[in-house]
């Protein structure tokens, strides 16, 4: 079986890596990585904006975004993808490439999930930090940027990472609207071989696992670097000395 897998990789590595490119659109692993990276890079700032809007004192900002987050979170991603795939061209008459459709949908979908994580991180800090910032004369946005978000995002790193990981995994849904990604390439290979689905999709699983695992590793390294720099995280203000030593993994 391992020989089968090696043979498949030998025969189809280029298709799995870049799809039909340069004879067709860029696909395969390359496209999966691009789609994942763009989704994460766009969903993250959008999630912060969503979170700030949901915490805003202005209803005009709070209500529409709250509705958007609730709807997006309450509907399966596949359904959202199909909606944007069939409805956007119908409504606008524009011919939207499936990659763009998938990217936009994924950004909003994961942005909505991530915004709840960010909002949770901000709320969990309590009023004290914002009050201290206000008392010192910081503006609301200045306090958010320099005082609240650095702490809230740091505290939320584990949840943020799992959202990133599920973003990567969700790019596979692009298969149903013919986004030429790794899953698409693997299924092309499977259609040509016909007899070895297990081997083909095992390769697929291993590659996705490797991507998500490396992201988690990188994120953990970043988290530890911040922790070391802060030399002892203390979420409570009256943090006693002993626990912070234990948490910081300092010698």
């Amino acid at each position: 079986m391992i020989t089968d897998i090696i043979t498949i990789i030998k025969d189809y590595w280029l298709l799995l890596l870049i799809g039909q490119y340069p004879n067709g659109p860029l696909g395969g692993l390359a496209n999966t990585l691009i789609l994942s990276a763009l989704s994460i890079a766009l969903a993250f700032p959008i999630s912060i904006l969503f979170a700030l809007a949901r915490l805003s004192k202005w209803r005009a900002l709070r209500w529409p975004v709250t509705a958007l987050v609730y709807i997006t979170r309450g509907v399966p991603l596949l359904m959202l993808v199909l909606w944007s795939y069939f409805l956007v061209p119908l409504l606008t008459g524009a011919d939207v490439p499936s990659f763009v459709t998938m990217l936009t949908t994924l950004v909003f979908y994961q942005g909505a999930f991530l915004s709840e994580v960010v909002r949770g991180g901000i709320v969990a800090l309590g009023h004290g930090q914002m009050e201290a910032a206000k008392a010192l004369g910081h503006s609301y946005l200045g306090a958010m940027r320099f005082i609240i978000l650095p702490q809230a995002l740091y505290n939320m790193i584990p949840s943020i990472i799992s959202t990133f990981v599920s973003t990567i995994k969700d790019t596979t849904i692009g298969y149903v609207i013919n986004v030429p990604d790794l899953t698409f390439a693997a299924s092309q290979v499977n259609n040509q071989l016909l007899t070895q689905p297990f081997q083909v999709f095992l390769i697929l699983a291993i590659v996705y696992y490797a991507i998500c695992w490396s992201l988690t590793k990188v994120a953990n390294a970043i988290e530890q670097r911040i922790t070391r720099r802060r030399a002892g995280p203390s979420r409570t203000v009256v943090a006693p000395l002993a626990p912070s030593k234990i948490l910081s993994e300092q010698p």
Binding site: G128, E131, L136, F146, G232, S234
Partner: protein, 255 residues
């Protein structure tokens, strides 16, 4: 010679007029009329739930009021004003919290220097030098690069005082600054506050430290159920309190 009571120099640092505040039907501040002179140290005392903290928090508008006015530096803090102006006003009123509220993700010296840099636009190296001087003044120069989580409560509160002083406020407000501290750390914070008072800082403190009130305060405001019942110099207040509620409060303290 005129009999004018308020030349600009003598105008009070803070004047509260007819301040009312309620949560729903429950009034927490009732008809507060009082003023703090420049250089004066006022201690606000009274039983728990009397509105002491609420009162001091209205002065930099961490709490809104329902009616009345609080004038600081010729400006009504509670007037409708652009956020920028309110931020500017707040930056000139130092506030020290019961729970310190230091920024745990920043080192001690960053805690003290960040607001001058971000709010006032002071050059980072200038703000940094100033922060080190202030830390020296509160006796924590050697902790400049530590993080708040590594400090004791008393040390954190002294950093919080230095952080407020970094904005060079003409007025400092203290909201029960020693209530969250272990008893052996109360002294170090009070002595910093004493030295501030000695330098002529205008101060308004909510505190249960009656020793501090007796030694340092120019005037005591006794507040109960949202009303200021008595204002008097400390010797008078502690020896011969006039209001029966104040007498009862002091009698309870002695037990």
């Amino acid at each position: 010679m005129t009999m004018s009571a308020s030349t600009p120099q003598q105008a009070p640092a803070i004047r509260l007029s007819n301040v009312h505040k309620s949560y729903g039907d429950h009034p927490v501040l009732k008809n507060i009329n009082a003023s703090v002179a420049r250089g004066e140290v006022v201690v606000i005392c009274g039983p728990s739930g009397s509105g002491k903290s609420t009162l001091i928090r209205t002065i930099n508008r961490l709490e809104e009021i329902n009616s009345g006015s609080i004038v600081f530096d010729g400006q009504d803090i509670h007037a409708t004003m652009p956020a920028k102006k309110l931020n500017l006003l707040r930056s000139s009123i130092g506030f020290v919290f019961q729970n310190f509220n230091l920024f745990p993700h920043l080192s001690v010296v960053e805690n003290v220097s960040m607001s001058p840099i971000r709010v006032k636009g002071v050059a980072p190296d200038v703000a940094y030098d100033k922060a080190l001087k202030l830390l020296d003044r509160v006796g924590l120069a050697e902790k400049a690069n530590a993080y708040p989580g590594q400090l004791s409560g008393g040390q954190q509160q002294r950093v919080a005082i230095a952080r407020a002083l970094a904005m060079e406020p003409p007025v400092m407000l203290f909201d029960e600054p020693t209530s969250a501290l272990d008893p052996e750390m109360v002294g170090e914070v009070l002595s910093v506050m004493k030295s501030l008072a000695a330098e002529g800082m205008t101060m308004l403190c909510v505190t249960h430290e009656m020793g501090f009130a007796r030694d340092v305060a120019d005037r005591i405001w006794f507040i109960n159920a949202g009303e200021i019942l008595e204002t008097a110099p400390p010797e008078e207040f502690f020896k011969t309190p006039r209001h029966p509620r104040a007498q009862r409060f002091l009698a309870d303290l002695r037990h």
